[in-house]
């Protein structure tokens, strides 16, 4: 009995200490990791969804407060005039959250592009939502279109065999769209 208690105690102590150490390391590196993520993953994705801009949307970003709390908007400009905005959102997929970036043309109220920044979908099946063949489907669609897969009565061709992932990606786009008008107004007012 005494031996058992000792084993349990030691293991608990070890795991506790390890967890404590890792939590500390996480706090120290979090900011740096976010920076790197912005530079290597989100940056290229933002440039892709906001085509034909002359500025660097990553450095021209602004924080706004909306009904859901804070959000970061990336502004695409041509010359001095604001033409497009991009923002991120996420929804549950098959293997975890699907994080995406959606770009909007604010004059036409259309989607200029969509890109997946991180997800843990099954390679070869759900991971196909990251491919141009799927993300390209959102391009040029109006913000008033129903961004659901055709099986659910929407305008997007889902990937066969990856319905859950396709639905997840669509749900992320819908949650992004819901806040688009409000965010657009705030950006225009802020100018």
């Amino acid at each position: 009995m005494n031996e058992n208690l000792k084993m349990i105690g030691m293991l608990t102590l070890f795991c506790g200490l390890c967890g404590f150490l890792l939590a500390g390391a996480r706090t120290l590196t979090r900011e740096c990791i976010e920076d790197q993520f912005l530079r290597y993953v989100e940056g290229p994705a933002i440039k892709k969804v906001l085509e034909e801009t002359t500025n660097d949307p990553v450095s021209d970003r602004m924080q706004i407060q909306d009904s859901t709390g804070g959000a970061t908007l990336f502004l695409g400009k041509r010359g001095d005039s604001l033409v497009s905005i991009a923002c991120g959102s996420k929804a549950a997929g098959f293997g975890g959250d699907i994080c995406i970036i959606v770009g909007y043309n604010i004059a036409m109220d259309t989607i200029t592009g969509m890109a997946v920044t991180s997800c843990s979908e099954t390679p070869g099946i759900g991971l196909r939502i990251t491919e141009e063949a799927f993300t390209g489907l959102f391009k040029g669609k109006s913000v008033n279109d129903i961004m659901k897969i055709r099986a659910d009565g929407g305008v997007i061709d889902g990937i066969s065999g990856a319905t859950v992932s396709s639905r997840g990606a669509c749900a992320a786009v819908i949650s992004n769209l819901l806040r688009y008008q409000e965010r657009k107004q705030r950006v225009l007012k802020g100018k």
């Binding site: 030691m10 293991l11 390890c18 890792l22 390391a25 290597y40």
Partner: protein, 197 residues
């Protein structure tokens, strides 16, 4: 005494060099050696974990109850691996993207648990540190050599630099998964025939 110390260190470099002599830790050796920088990066990550875990296991060898030692070693190794993952993510992001899932998988790399169980749990701190460092450097060398052969012949580059002339037709079989097995097998064969003499 000094001789013994040196032997603890150098055995990992040739006599028991992983993975060619000590055929352990093959999964990353096959998976990340498509390019020389991937092999080198993986080797350095493993060296760090191996050195730190050997030192800590050796320090705690009289404290850890025998029956739960494996679980304790895994907790220690996993902590260091997550630390490495955070560091590569924070400071070497392109490397992190390249190695991806294979960084967390260092936890289950047999070399690390193998050295903890076979060496560090029975020896004082300094020999354990030397053992870990030697094994780690040996592993790094092996991976870099394997990756260099595959990258140079398979894509005509080395650390991303063009080394073969533009007329060279890359032997792309070598950068595919089966090429890793063939390449590793050939090196193992060469090492064995060298060792027999």
């Amino acid at each position: 005494m000094m001789d013994l110390r040196i032997r603890e260190f150098t055995k990992g470099l040739w006599k028991e060099i992983p993975p060619f002599r000590l055929v352990l830790g093959l999964c990353p050796a096959l998976a990340v050696t498509k390019s020389a920088d991937g092999g080198l990066g993986m080797g350095i990550a493993v060296t760090f974990v191996l050195l730190c875990s050997n030192v800590l296991v050796s320090l705690l060898r009289n404290v850890i109850p025998k029956k739960v030692r494996i679980a304790s070693y895994i907790a220690i190794v996993a902590t260091y691996v997550v630390l490495v993952e955070m560091i590569t993510q924070a400071y070497f992001f392109p490397l992190y993207q390249k190695l991806g899932i294979f960084i967390p998988l260092i936890v289950v790399n047999c070399i690390i648990l193998g050295r903890a169980e076979a060496f560090a749990s029975k020896n004082p701190v300094l020999p354990s540190a030397l053992d870990g460092l030697g094994m780690g450097i040996g592993y790094t060398l092996s991976l870099t050599v394997l990756a260099s052969i595959r990258e140079i012949l398979g894509s005509g580059t080395w650390f991303g630099m063009q080394v073969m002339g533009s007329s060279y037709q890359p032997f792309s079989f070598l950068v595919e998964a089966p090429g890793a097995f063939v390449c590793l097998g050939l090196i193992l064969g060469i090492m064995n025939s060298l060792g027999k003499r």
